[in-house]
């Protein structure tokens, strides 16, 4: 059986590719647009709403807006990733999940210093994967993009 600790999820959002360790991923859910409770949205906090999850409710954060990515095409059905978090699970909507792949396929590099803004980028490394650079993510680092609740 493949060790999940040696696998990474590849997903796409706003035309950018991302990779995430599988151990940070709890669940992938499709067709969530109607299930999202938008009455719980908080645009100032970049929260899109809330979603029922395993008897509770989790916030769904707008990663695309936080990273200033282009908005998705309206006809694209987003996919929800439920991620682990320091304060409980949370979710992000992404455009597409490419799949789960062994870490041996990824060549991790630091982000070139020329590209870094004064305020730190919420990512410090890129993964070269199949001829393209992906943003190397970890759920804990992503969650800190929004600061402590």
């Amino acid at each position: 059986m493949t060790d999940p600790g040696r696998m990474r999820l590849v997903f796409r959002l706003g035309g950018v590719g991302f990779s995430l360790p599988v151990q940070d991923l709890i669940e992938i859910r499709e067709e969530v647009a109607d299930a999202l409770d938008r009455s719980a949205a908080d645009p100032a906090a970049q929260v899109l709403g809330a979603l029922s999850h395993r008897g509770g409710s989790i916030p769904v954060r707008d990663l695309g807006r936080r990273l200033e990515l282009p908005a998705p095409f309206p006809e694209e059905a987003p996919v929800l990733l439920v991620l682990t978090g320091e304060d409980g699970c949370w979710g992000v909507l992404v455009d597409r999940v490419e799949g789960i792949f062994p870490t041996s396929e990824f060549d991790t590099r630091p982000v070139p210093p020329l590209l870094v803004r004064q305020e730190s980028l919420p990512y410090t490394h890129l993964d070269l994967w199949r001829g393209e650079p992906l943003v190397h993510c970890e759920a804990g680092v992503l969650q800190r993009c929004w600061g402590r609740p």
Binding site: G14, G15, V16, G17, L67, E68, L69, D107, R109, V111, P112, P113, L114, L115, V116, R117, Q118, L121, P122, Y123, L126, L128, G131, E132, P133, V135
Partner: protein, 145 residues
């Protein structure tokens, strides 16, 4: 050019109707345009990255220097000049590689106000034409964070 080696050469390029010059000693490669990959929250002045020889190369948005409009394609030209700086390689787009000439065949002068933007403050005058001489290191250093 101060500090230029003996037999220094200057490469002349054109991008979207704007001509410019680069010292050849800083040029690592001139390659056909590559796929440019967007990344989030990049420092202003960079339009993405390309992969060259397994290295991540930031692509500089040269059109901003000439005061033009963003190109229709991310790559912004038919070629990419991979240029070496003290901060790592930088990609510069170009539509044409006009020619490579001996430094001694032209003259480096201070730019006058009416001339096309020469952020280095210098132009390379060759065969009656003035080519803004780009100081790539200074260009990327001057970018806002």
């Amino acid at each position: 050019m101060l500090g230029a080696p003996v037999n220094a050469k200057v490469a002349l390029f054109e991008l979207d109707g704007n001509a410019f010059a680069l010292p050849v000693e800083g040029i690592q490669h001139i390659i056909p345009v590559q796929k440019v990959f967007p990344l989030p929250l990049l420092r202003s002045g960079f339009g993405g990255v390309l992969l060259h020889q397994n290295e991540v190369v930031p692509l500089f948005e040269l059109w901003r220097i000439f005061g033009g409009q963003p190109p229709q394609s991310c790559s912004g030209g038919r070629y990419t000049v991979v240029y070496r700086t003290g901060f790592g390689p930088v990609g510069l787009p170009a539509d044409q590689v006009l020619r490579i000439v001996d430094r001694e065949a032209g003259v480096v002068e201070g730019a006058v106000e009416a001339e096309t933007a020469a952020p280095s403050g210098r132009v390379f005058v060759f065969a009656g034409s003035s080519y803004p001489l780009l100081d790539v290191e200074a260009l990327v250093t001057a970018l806002p964070h």
